[in-house]
Symmetry: C2
Subunit: 352 residues, 2 copies
C-alpha cells in the first residue's frame, strides 16, 4: 500500500502544440486577428489597487454586460475559465446517472476525457459517412446529450430545427449544445432556452472574440440549471473569474462592431480557401466554423501535416480512426493562408 | 425519471460577503494594501494582440519566475486559479482511496466541501482545547492528510519539526500542507519537498501578495506529484492560467522588496491589535497569520458581529460548533483597525 495506489490515473486531453518563434499557426482554431483595441485601453487605465480584493463570485460586470449584449437575464448566465471550465462543470453537475450520455464519435476530443475523469458512462454515436449528425440517432435512451454546433473538427452545422427536434424529444435529459464556433455563420439555439428547461447553450470568447488567451466561456440556460451549476462551482472554486479578465471581457463586449468586422474577414477568407483547396484536390464537409476539415484525394494527411510542420506551418492532424485522412486547418489571415496554399502547391507538385 | 434525478446536489462553500460601498472589510483575510505598482506598469504596456492565442498550459513565465524566486525546479511547481483550484485538483488527484483522509475539525471550511463533492471519505481530528493540532493524532491510519499552517481560522502555527514528524511518519499518504498564510511570520516546510516524496506544499498570491483579485495559487512537490496533478488538470481544463494573470503575477514577483515591506506592516498592525484586543477583554490563540481569532470574555461573538456590521465593519463569524464564540478579524490598515477598536470600545461600554 503506497500513496500511489490512491492516485487518479488519467489519459489527459492533449492540447494542440503551442510552438514559439516565427511559425504560421493554423492548428488550434485561434482567431488570427487581435482583440478590440478597447482591451488595451481599459488595461492601461486599470486601477490595480482593487486586485487586493477577491472578485465577484458570479463574474460581476462581465455577466452584467453579457446580459445586456445577449438580452438574457443574468441569472440565466454562467461564466467560467474558458468553455472548457464551463463544460467540465456542466458534465459534473448534470451527468450523474447510470444511463450513458451520448455524443458524436467524431467530435471535440475533450468530451470523453471529462466522462472518463468523472466516471460518467458514455456512448458515442457515429456520424454518417459525410460526417453529419443524424438527428434520429439521438432519440435513444440516454443520460444526457452533448452536441457541438458547428461540430468540431468537421465544421458541419446542424440546423436549429434539427437541434430543437433532439431537445424537445429528450425532455428528461440535459442537452448541451456547444456553440464554440457558432459565430462564424451558423445559427444559435440561444432563443430556445426559455422554451426548454433541459437546454444548456455553451459559448466562448476564444474563437470569434479573439480572446483565447483570456480564458472566458459562458453558458446560457434557465435559472434552475444555472443555479445547479453554480452550486457545484462554489464547491470547487468560488472565485474563478479574476478581476483583470472581467475588465478585459467587458471591453470586448463594448466593441461588437469590431467583432462583426473580424468575423466577416474570417468568413471571407474561409470561403476563398474552400475554392483554393478544392482546386488543389481537397474535399471537405462544408464548414460554418473558422476551420476546414480537409482530405486530399491522393496524398495522405499525415504526409502533408509533417511537411507543413517542417515548412513552419502548423495544422492539426489526429492519428485516429475515421479521421486520420483529414487535416483540420484553422483559418488564418489572408497572408497566412496564401503562404499555406503556396506551400501546398509546391508540395503537391513535388509529390505527385 | 427526470433530468433532475441526475443532478449532483451539493451544499456549496459559502464565501465571505463581498459588500460594495464604503465599508471596512475585515472578513475575508484580504491584504489591506494594493499590489506592487509594477502590476499597473506592466498592464499599461501589455501587448493585447497576444490575447488571441491560447496561453501556455503550465503557466509559462509565471512558473519560470516562481522557479527563480523560490529556487525550486519548475517541474516541481504547479500553478492554478487561486489555491482553491490547486487544492481541488490535489484532492481529486491524490485522494481516491477508501480509507478516510484526515484534517482538523476546526479548519478551512472548503476541505469537507471538496471531500463531499468528490466522494472522498474523510474524518476530522479535533483540535485540543487551545485550538492546537496534536501531532500524534495524525499517526492513525488514513488515506491522506491536510493541514493548514498557520491553521485557519485559528491563526496558530505548527512548527516545521512537528509537521516533519507527521510527514515522515506517513510515508504512504500524501500530506498537503496548506500555507496560505505562512508569509505572515510562520516557517514554511517548502525545503522538505526534496526529502519527502509524499509532501505537497500549497501557497497563494491572495494574502501576502495582495492579489486575491488575480486568482493565482501554486503547489510545490516532487516531479512525480506535480505530473499526476497536471494529468488531472489537463483532463479538466488545459488552459487555466490566462495571459493577463501570468503577466500580473510575474510583475508582483519582480518586486519582492515591496512584498516584504507590506508583510512587515501587516505583522506590526497585528501585534499592536493583540495588545488592543487583550485590553478590551478578548482572548485568542497567538496568531501568525493576517487575522486574529478572538473571543470576548463577556459578550457573545454573534452580538459583536451584528453590531459591527451595522456600523459598516465586516468581520467573519460562523454559527458552528466549537467556534461560535469567536470572531475572525482580518488585519486591515492601521486606520481601519483604529476604527474597529473605536467601535469596540463604544459597543462594549454600552453593552456592559
Amino acid at each position: 500500500m503506497s500513496w500511489e495506489d490512491n492516485v487518479r490515473k488519467v489519459i489527459p486531453y492533449v492540447p494542440g502544440e503551442q510552438p514559439t518563434g516565427r511559425v504560421i499557426k493554423l492548428n488550434t482554431n485561434e482567431n488570427p486577428y487581435p482583440p478590440s483595441p478597447k482591451v488595451a485601453e481599459v488595461l492601461s487605465h486599470y486601477d490595480t489597487d482593487d486586485l487586493r480584493l477577491y472578485p465577484d463570485v458570479h463574474g460581476g460586470e462581465l455577466r452584467d454586460k453579457l446580459s445586456e449584449v445577449y438580452g438574457v437575464d443574468k441569472e440565466k448566465i454562467f461564466v467560467g475559465v474558458g468553455s472548457d471550465d464551463v463544460l467540465a462543470v456542466a458534465f459534473m453537475t448534470f451527468f450523474n446517472g447510470r444511463t450513458p450520455i451520448i455524443f458524436p464519435d467524431v467530435t471535440y476530443s475533450f468530451y470523453d476525457v471529462w466522462a472518463e475523469l468523472y466516471n460518467i458512462p458514455y456512448m458515442t454515436i457515429p456520424l454518417d459517412d459525410d460526417f453529419r449528425i443524424k438527428k434520429d440517432d439521438y432519440l435513444r435512451t440516454n443520460g444526457g446529450i452533448v452536441i457541438p454546433n458547428p461540430n468540431a473538427p468537421t465544421g458541419c452545422e446542424k440546423s436549429v430545427e434539427d437541434l430543437e427536434y433532439i431537445i424537445s424529444n429528450n425532455p428528461d435529459s440535459i442537452v448541451i449544445i456547444d456553440e464554440a464556433y457558432v459565430d462564424f455563420g451558423a445559427r444559435s439555439v440561444l432563443p430556445l432556452i426559455d422554451k426548454y428547461d433541459n437546454l444548456l447553450v455553451v459559448q466562448t470568447f476564444s474563437k470569434s472574440f479573439c480572446m483565447a488567451g483570456a480564458r472566458i466561456g459562458m453558458a446560457f440556460g434557465n435559472k434552475k440549471l444555472i443555479k445547479y451549476m453554480n452550486d457545484v462551482k462554489f464547491s470547487i472554486n468560488s472565485y474563478t473569474m479574476n478581476r483583470l479578465t472581467v475588465a478585459a471581457g467587458v471591453a470586448v463586449l463594448e466593441d461588437m462592431d469590431y467583432l462583426k468586422e473580424v468575423r466577416g474577414k474570417v468568413i471571407a477568407t474561409r470561403e476563398r480557401m474552400k475554392k483554393e483547396l478544392t482546386a488543389l484536390g481537397f474535399t471537405f464537409p462544408d464548414s460554418k466554423s473558422n476551420f476546414i476539415f480537409a482530405s486530399h484525394n491522393e496524398i495522405a494527411a499525415a504526409d502533408i501535416f509533417k511537411a507543413a510542420k517542417q515548412a513552419g506551418i502548423y495544422v492539426r492532424w489526429w492519428d485516429k480512426r475515421r479521421i486520420s485522412d483529414h487535416l483540420r486547418i484553422s483559418i488564418g489571415t489572408d497572408e497566412e493562408m496564401d503562404a499555406f496554399i503556396a506551400f501546398l502547391k509546391e508540395f503537391i507538385n513535388g509529390y505527385l
